[in-house]
Structures are given as C-alpha cells and as structure tokens.
Amino acid sequence: MTTETQARQAAGPDFGITPSQTIGPFFAYALTPRAYGGPELATEQVAGEGVEGERIRIEGHVYDGDGAVVIDAMIEIWQADARGRFNTSGNAGFSGFGRAEATAEGGFHFETIRPGAIEGPGGTMQAPHLSVSVFARGILVRLATRIYFEGEPGNAADPVLALVPAERRETLIAKRDENGVYRFDIRLQGEGETAFFAA
C-alpha cells in the first residue's frame, strides 16, 4: 500500500481541500493591524534599505463594478529578487512578500525593488512581475493577478501576458507617473476590469 493511500484512509472518506471563504470586512486588526498597535506579519515595505535592485514604489486603488473605491481590501504581493530568485537566504532585508490594506484615504502602496526576469514554461522567459492576491468583503475566493511594468522589453515575449486577450493586457501593466511611481489600479468588475487568473 502506498503512503498516499494510508494517508487518505486516515483522513476519512471526504478528503478534499478546505473551501475558501471571504476575508470579510473586519480583518484589519488581525492581518493589517498597524492602526490597532498589533504586530504586523508583513507590510508594504517588501525590500529594506541596502537590498540589491532598483527601488520602486507602486500605488493604486481597488474599484468595484460601480467605480466606487473599495475600502476594505487586503492586497498581497509575492516576487523574485532583482536577480530573479525566490526565497534566497542570503538576501537580508528582502522577503519577497508584501501585505497592504487598501483604505479609503490612500488606496494601497508597496515599496520594493524591481524583480528580475524568471524562467517560464518551455524555455521561455517571464518578464519582471509581481504575483498579486486580492482579498475583500464580497470576494469569496482570493483574486489572483499580476503586476507587470510599463516599458519592459520582456513584456512582448512574456508567456503569461500572451495568454491574456490583447485588449485586456494593459490592465496588468503598471504605468509610471511623472514622479516615477508605478500606478496600478485594480478594477474588480466592468469597464477596464483587471484580468484575473485561475491559478
């Protein structure tokens, strides 16, 4: 008998993943608890001082299907370091993980470094990008998307961007404003709806 069979028998007949449920409106005091004086697991500061790479700032808002600003969302990002590596132990001050609350006052932002390119399926190269999870009241299963960067020469050959219908690709590309800040708004529904992935 395989260990897998043993494990499944031990777990009972109704084995399967635990379904997702909404984060609800009241998560902040636990997950993004700065205003409550609670300990933060992670913040919008993904890269500390001295971390190798070009420092970038990303700012955005989350909008619902009426174009109203969503004030109770949590955004998480996951990314490679400047050399395209994940979970590198030798890169002090860089976890690759960020968590931010989207608020009525300022939307959300992240301070990080521009990630390197990483390999993709079938010998392709993926352009620099951040993996994004969006959680909010009214979202029963986290929404997965990606942030790419305007002007990256690798975008044209990126194998994931290529899967997105051409007219929706722009929704995944952060645009640099006059202050050098990358703007990335997340539109949950309707006009300009962000391309979300089934991961």
């Binding site: 494990a7 399967g16 379904p19 009241r137 986290r142 899967l163």
Partner: protein
Amino acid sequence: MSLIYPRDSLKAHPLNATPAYGSTVKRAPSKPLILLPHTLSETTGPVFGHTGVAAGDSDLTRQHQGEPLGERIIVSGRVLDEDGRPVPHTLVEIWQANAGGRYVHVRDQHPAPLDPNFTGAGRALTDAEGRYRFVTIKPGAYPWRNHHNAWRPAHIHFSLFGPSFLSRVITQMYFPGDPLFKYDPIFQSVTDERARERLISRFDLGTTEPEWALGYTFDIVLRGRNATPVEEPHDH
C-alpha cells in the same frame, strides 16, 4: 518535495459570483478567469519562521490583564496537503468576534459590548506533524445587513499560506450543529455539501480539558499533492 496542484481541486471553492451574498454583486469579476500556468512565481511562496509568531500569540485569552468573558475553547487540528501529508511549520492566522458577536474592528457597528480583555487575533506555526492549537473563547453569532434578519453563524476566520502562492487560502471555521447554517449565504456559497462540511469543526472530548475548556478539532486541507508518489515495498 516537489508538489503539483491539480486544478480539479478548486471545484471545492465557492464561485465569486454568488448573488445571495450581496457584496459579491459589484465585486465579482464578470469576465472569465484566465488559466495561469504554474511557474516558479506560483510554486514558491513566503516562509514565516518563528519571527512571525511571538510566544502567547496562540492564546487569545491571555492577551490582556484579565480574562475575556465567554465560553473558553481549545481549537486545534492539523494542516494537511491533498495527499493527507502534514504541512509542517506553516503559518496560521485567526481572527474572530468576541462572545457577544462584536469585533474590535472600528467599523463594526453591532450594538453588543466590546470586551476589554479580548482582541480576537491570534497566530501559530504548525509543528513538524502539521499540528496547531489555539486557546480562545467561542465567538458569538452576529447580525449583518445582507438581507432581512440576517445573522452569521458563529465562526473563526483562518488565513493560511502553505508551501506556495497556490496553496494560499483564507477561510472560516464553523461550529457543529449551528441552526444558522441554512440561512447563511456565505456558508452556503460552497455548493458541494461534502466540501461545506469540511468548514465545520468537530467537538472533541479528546482535546477537551477537564474543568477548563471544550475542545474543537478543525483540520485544514491545502492545495498540493506529491508530484511523485513513492511506492512502499509490500511486506509479503
């Protein structure tokens, strides 16, 4: 160990477009999701060591000067992958209402009292066998404005990472036999009955501590399956 993430498993999840839960109506994407290949970006994820968890974070009854009001409970269980293997040293975050059904959150308007001895936020790392354990109080049911006379069944919110971006999940744990289940569109958003039952903890006399606290067991199964199951030798 290298993991694969069968997409079929995702069928356990609710649809984001679940109109009975009113907040989804303007927040669920209207366009089809795009199938994302599982590249390095997806098969890796953050690792939280003990730096993310302080001693005492898993006992929600001892975060203030006094003890919170309510029914003291122990919520414990295992975090497993889809093969039933433990997910060791993974982060579990929880949050919940107090015994009166009130959250500490500034926007919670439910006219039930706050408890100065209860915040309702906790964290734990699973051990080498995937086990976690929290001491807390049983949260109260609370009203919400989804529809006339709408009440949420008592629940504890759970947030887990597991080994990668793909195993990340936020869910809610319920208590057995709650009469509000059939009226709750969030619980009912999980349309598969067996999947829905996986959201319900089990009363457990084995983890109940005499003269102290009732025990509830809640095992959580995250996405991820061994890419290369190993055949064990037969002994005959």
